[in-house]
C-alpha cells in the first residue's frame, strides 16, 4: 500500500466557476440519430443494398418486360420491393441497437429523457423514408426513360403526383411499423423476425380467417393494416377506406407505439 496516501490530503481547490449548460435542442438529437443510423457497417450496407437492388430491379424491368409494360408504374413497383423490405429494418435497428449493442447505456445517460431520444429516432426514421423513397422513384424514372428509348417508344408517365406522395407515405408507414416493433421488442433479431411475421405471415392468416369466418369478413379491412394501407396505391380512395386505414393504424401503430414508449421509459437500462 502506498504510504503517500496515508498523509492527509490538502484542502480541495475552489471549483471552477461554471455556468449551467444550455439544454440540448431536439434538432441536434435528430441529427445525431441520423448519423447513428448510417455510421456502422450494417447501416451503410443496408442503404447501399437498397440502392443496388433498386438498380437491379430497374435493369430487370428493362431486360424482361414487354414494351407495353415499360411504364413508370412498373418501375416504381419494381424499385419499391427492396425499399419496402429493407427500410423497415433500418427503422428497427435504429431503435434496437441501443439495447442489442447496449449503446443505450451511453445514449440514455447523455439524454436521460428517453422519450426525447426515441422521438428524435422517430423523426430521423421518417426523414430517411421521405428522402430515400423519392431517390428510389428517381432511379425508376431513369429506368423508364432508358427502357422507352431502348424499346423505341414514348416514355409512359402513368402515375400522378398524388399517388407518388401516397407512395412515400406508404413506405413511411411500413418503416413506422418496424420502428414500433423495435420499441416493443428491443432486440434486433427478434424485432426483424416479428416484422417479417407481420408483413409476410399475418396478411395470409387474416385473409384465411376472413375466408372462413363470416364475422371477421366484415371487420377484416378495419383491423388489417397491411390491407388497409394498399389504399395508398389507389387514385381515389373512399372515405371509408381512409377510415379503415385510420382505425387499423390505431390498432397496429398508434396503440403499440404508445405502449412501447411507456414501457421504455419505465424499463431499466443496463
Amino acid at each position: 500500500m502506498s504510504t503517500a496516501l496515508l498523509t492527509p490530503t490538502e484542502a480541495p481547490a475552489a471549483p471552477r466557476p461554471r455556468t449551467a449548460p444550455a439544454p440540448i435542442p431536439f434538432t441536434r438529437l435528430v441529427g445525431v440519430e441520423l448519423r447513428k443510423m448510417f455510421d456502422t457497417r450494417s447501416g451503410r450496407w443496408l442503404l447501399i443494398t437498397i440502392a443496388a437492388l433498386a438498380l437491379v430491379a430497374t435493369a430487370a424491368v428493362i431486360a424482361f418486360a414487354p414494351a407495353e409494360f415499360i411504364t413508370f408504374e412498373s418501375f416504381a413497383t419494381a424499385v419499391g420491393v427492396p425499399a419496402g423490405s429493407l427500410l423497415p429494418i433500418v427503422a428497427i435497428l435504429a431503435v434496437t441497437s441501443e439495447w442489442s449493442q447496449r449503446t443505450g447505456l451511453t445514449s440514455f445517460t447523455l439524454v436521460p429523457r428517453r422519450g426525447r431520444v426515441l422521438g428524435a429516432k422517430l423523426v430521423a426514421t421518417v426523414l430517411v423514408g421521405v428522402v430515400v423513397v423519392p431517390v428510389m422513384l428517381a432511379i425508376g424514372s431513369l429506368g423508364n426513360l432508358l427502357g422507352a428509348a431502348i424499346h423505341g417508344i414514348d416514355p409512359v408517365w402513368d402515375t400522378s403526383a398524388q399517388i407518388l406522395a401516397q407512395n412515400v407515405a406508404a413506405f413511411v408507414l411500413v418503416m413506422l411499423i418496424g420502428f414500433t416493433l423495435g420499441v416493443l421488442i428491443r432486440n434486433s433479431p427478434g424485432a426483424i423476425v416479428a416484422y417479417f411475421v407481420y408483413s409476410l405471415v399475418l396478411p395470409g392468416l387474416l385473409a384465411a380467417l376472413a375466408a372462413f369466418q363470416e364475422w371477421f369478413r366484415d371487420i377484416h379491412l378495419w383491423v388489417d393494416f397491411n390491407m388497409a394501407s394498399t389504399v395508398l396505391y389507389d387514385e381515389h380512395p373512399t372515405g371509408e377506406q381512409w377510415a379503415q386505414l385510420g382505425v387499423s393504424g390505431l390498432i397496429w401503430l398508434v396503440i403499440p407505439l404508445a405502449l412501447g414508449l411507456w414501457l421504455v421509459r419505465r424499463s431499466e437500462v443496463k
Binding site: S2, L6, P8, A13, P15, A20, P21, T106
Partner: protein, 305 residues
C-alpha cells in the same frame, strides 16, 4: 458533489441496494468498494437515472440527474466500457457523444490524446479493442464534456499496472482541480491506491465509511514472543483485548509502545512487534467477500490477463 440519501432498490424479493446514504465531496476521490454483487453498479445506475429507485434518492450538484439540461457537460459517466456498438470506431463513438453534448469535434482529438489512444487505434472498430482500450475510450467519453463530477464503475478493470497508475494520476488531477470523483471497485488494493474516502458496501448495505487514513489506521498491534502465554496474560492483566492468531502471534488493541513497556516490565523477550495497518479493513473486506471469493479471484485473474 454527489449526495445519496437512503437509496433503496429491490428486485422482487432481493434488496440489491439497501438504504444507502453517503456523500462524495468535491476535491476528493470517493471509492465505492464491495465484492461482486454488493450493489455498486445498481446504485450507480440509479444515480444516473438508468434504473428507478424503489425508495430514497440521489442528487448530483444538488439536482436529480434526470433534471440536468445537458448531463454530459456536468457529469462524466462510465458504467460499462464494453457497452458500445462493436461496429463503430473509437473516434466515431466520441464524435457522437460530442455532437450530442454540442461540443466541437476538436474536443474529440483532445480527449483521444488525453487517454493516449493513437490515431490508428481511434480509427479501428471497437470490436477489435482490448478491455483496457475500451476503458480508456470510456474515460475519454466521460471527460469529453469537461464535467465537474465523474461516476465510474470499475474503471480499473482490464487496465495493466501502468494503466492503473495513469488512472490514479488522472483522477487525482481531476479531484485536485475541484472535481468530485466516485469510482467503484471490488478490489481493495485498487481503491487503496486511488481513493481519499471509502464507502464499503456489502449485500446492498454500507458496512463502513471514512477517509482512507481512518479506515486503514488500526488500533491493532501484532506481537510475537518466546513465551506467548506469559505475554497474553500480561496484556490481559493490563486490561487489553487479546486474541491469539493461528500462526502463534498475539493480536491486541494495545499500542506497540504499550506492548513494549509491558513486555519489558514482565521480562518477556519479544520476537516481533508491529502495528498491523489496514488489518481491520482487510479483514472486514475478506469477510464480505467470503461467499464470493472464488468469483472475485477469477475476475482478478481475468483483469490481470
Amino acid at each position: 458533489m454527489i449526495t445519496v440519501e437512503s437509496l433503496t432498490k429491490r428486485y422482487g424479493g432481493l434488496t440489491a441496494v439497501d438504504h444507502v446514504s453517503f456523500t462524495a465531496q468535491p476535491g476528493r476521490v470517493t471509492g465505492f468498494l464491495g465484492p461482486n454483487g454488493a450493489g455498486k453498479s445498481t446504485a450507480m445506475r440509479v444515480m444516473v437515472g438508468l434504473t428507478e429507485a424503489t425508495a430514497g434518492q440521489a442528487t448530483i450538484l444538488g439536482r436529480r440527474y434526470t433534471d440536468l439540461p445537458n448531463p454530459g457537460r456536468e457529469v462524466g459517466v462510465l458504467l460499462d466500457a464494453s457497452a458500445q456498438h462493436a461496429g463503430r470506431t473509437g473516434r466515431e463513438i466520441l464524435t457522437i457523444a460530442a455532437k450530442t453534448m454540442g461540443l466541437p469535434t476538436s474536443r474529440v482529438d483532445e480527449m483521444l490524446a488525453r487517454v493516449s489512444l493513437t490515431d490508428t487505434e481511434a480509427t479501428r472498430r471497437v470490436r477489435n479493442y482490448s478491455l483496457g482500450m475500451r476503458q480508456r475510450l470510456g474515460i475519454a467519453t466521460a471527460l469529453l464534456g469537461d464535467p465537474e463530477v465523474l461516476i465510474l464503475d470499475e474503471p480499473a478493470n482490464g487496465l495493466d499496472p501502468a494503466g492503473i497508475r495513469w488512472m490514479r494520476d488522472l483522477l487525482r488531477d481531476f479531484a485536485d482541480a475541484g472535481g468530485t470523483v466516485l469510482l467503484s471497485s471490488h478490489l481493495l488494493h485498487e481503491i487503496e491506491a486511488i481513493a481519499d474516502d471509502i464507502v464499503v458496501i456489502g449485500q446492498g448495505r454500507i458496512v463502513a465509511e471514512g477517509t482512507i487514513a481512518e479506515l486503514l489506521a488500526s488500533a491493532s498491534t501484532r506481537v510475537c514472543a518466546a513465551d506467548v502465554t506469559a505475554l497474553a496474560t500480561a496484556l490481559a492483566a493490563a486490561g487489553h483485548e487479546v486474541t491469539l492468531t493461528p500462526d502463534g502471534a498475539v493480536q491486541t488493541d494495545a499500542t506497540p509502545a504499550a506492548v513494549g513497556e509491558l513486555a519489558l516490565a514482565a521480562r518477556i523477550a519479544l520476537t516481533e512487534l508491529r502495528a498491523s495497518d489496514g488489518a481491520r479493513l482487510e479483514e472486514m473486506f475478506l469477510e464480505l467477500t467470503a461467499d464470493t471469493q472464488r468469483e472475485s479471484r477469477l475476475t482478478d485473474l481475468e483483469g490481470a490477463a
